[in-house]
Symmetry: C2
Subunit: 168 residues, 2 copies
DNA sequence: ATTAATTTTCAATAAGTTTTGAAAATTCAG
DNA sequence: CTGAATTTTCAAAACTTATTGAAAATTAAT
C-alpha cells in the first residue's frame, strides 16, 4: 500500500470508529489526520485534505483543543494558526476518558444517588426490587469512576506509572 | 421521590447515556425499563410504558436479545412473549464490551495491521512518521484487546474471578 | 488608524438516524 | 386445516445532528 492511500484508510476508519462512539465523524477525522501528519497543519490544510468547510473544520479543531487532544502551534513568519495532535496514545486515551467521565459518568452517578432514596414503603416488593437494582448499578458506577480516576492519574504516581509502562 | 418518578428518571437518563455512547436511545430505555422491572414485560407493556410503536419496540428488543442483555421468558397460559433483563451489572458490562470489541475494535485492529506494511521507501521521513504513529496505535489497541478478553473471560478464571468480586 | 488576513459564528440546509404504522408473515390453539 | 393472536418487516415520515458558507468579529502588520 502507498502512503497516501494508507493515510486515507486510517482517517476514514478512525472517523467510523469515532461515530460509533458518539464522537462527531469530522472531529475524529481531523484528529486522525493530525495524528499521522508529519508536521502541524493549518485550517486550510485540514479543509482541503478532508474536503470540509471552514466552519466545520474550525468547530471541530476547537473541540479537539478543548479535549486536550490537539495543540495550537505557531509557525514563525506565518499569521495562520497551525495544529498538531498529542501523539502519546496513552495520553490520548486518558484524556478522552477524562472528558467522557466528566460529561457522562459523573452526571449519571449524581442521578443514581438521588434515586437510591425513595420516600416510599420500604417493604413493598416493587420498591425493594427497584432499590436493589439501582444500588447495584450505583456500586458498579462508583467502581468505574474510581478506576478511571486511577488510570487518569496513573502517570503522576510512581507505582502505577511504572506498572502501566508495560502497556505502552 | 416516588417509585414511578424514580423509574421514569432512571429510564430517561439511561437513554441519554446510551445515545452518548452510540446506542439507540430506545434500545437503552427498553433495557433500563427491564432492568428496574420487578417482573418480565411484554411488547405491549414496553410500548405503553415508553410510548413507542410496536415496530420500534420489537426491533430494539431483538437487538437487546442479540447483545445477550435481555432474555425471552414464557408465561404459562399466555401466548405473548415476555422479556427480562440480565440484572448482574458486571455481566451486562462484559457483554456490551464483547459486542463492541467484536464490531469495532477487532475490525480496527485488522485495518491497522494492513497499514503497518507500506511498500514505500522506508527512509522517507514522511513514511517513518506515519509508520511509527500507526505502530503505537496498533500496540495500544492490541493491549486493549487483550485486556478486554481478560475481563470478558474473568468469570471463568479462578484468580481473576475472585479478584473481580471486589468490584461487584 | 487602516485594512487585509484570518478566525468565529450561526441561520439555513443537508445528511443521517430513528420511529411509525400498517401489511405480511408466522405461530399456535382448537 | 383454519383463523385469530402475535410478531416481524420495511417504506415513508419525523426527528436529530452535522455541515455549509457567507457575514461578523478579531487580529496584527504597516
Amino acid at each position: 500500500m502507498k502512503l497516501a492511500e494508507a493515510k486515507e484508510q486510517f482517517i476514514q476508519n478512525w472517523g467510523v470508529l469515532g461515530s460509533q462512539w458518539g464522537i462527531n465523524r469530522t472531529m475524529a477525522q481531523v484528529h486522525a489526520l493530525l495524528l499521522v501528519a508529519s508536521s502541524p497543519l493549518s485550517t486550510d490544510d485540514i479543509m482541503e485534505q478532508l474536503s470540509v468547510s471552514r466552519g466545520n473544520a474550525n468547530m471541530n479543531i476547537r473541540e479537539l483543543i478543548d479535549w486536550d487532544l490537539v495543540y495550537k502551534t505557531i509557525v514563525p513568519g506565518d499569521r495562520k494558526e497551525y495544529f498538531r495532535a498529542e501523539k502519546d496514545i496513552w495520553k490520548v486515551a486518558t484524556r478522552i476518558m477524562q472528558q467522557r467521565k466528566k460529561r457522562e459518568l459523573d452526571p449519571m452517578i449524581k442521578v443514581l444517588n438521588q434515586l437510591s432514596n425513595l420516600e416510599e414503603d420500604k417493604k413493598d416488593p416493587e420498591v425493594v426490587a427497584f432499590t436493589e437494582a439501582i444500588e447495584n448499578i450505583r456500586k458498579f458506577a462508583g467502581q468505574a469512576d474510581k478506576t478511571m480516576d486511577m488510570l487518569i492519574k496513573a502517570e503522576e504516581n510512581w507505582f502505577w506509572g511504572n506498572f502501566l509502562k508495560m502497556f505502552k
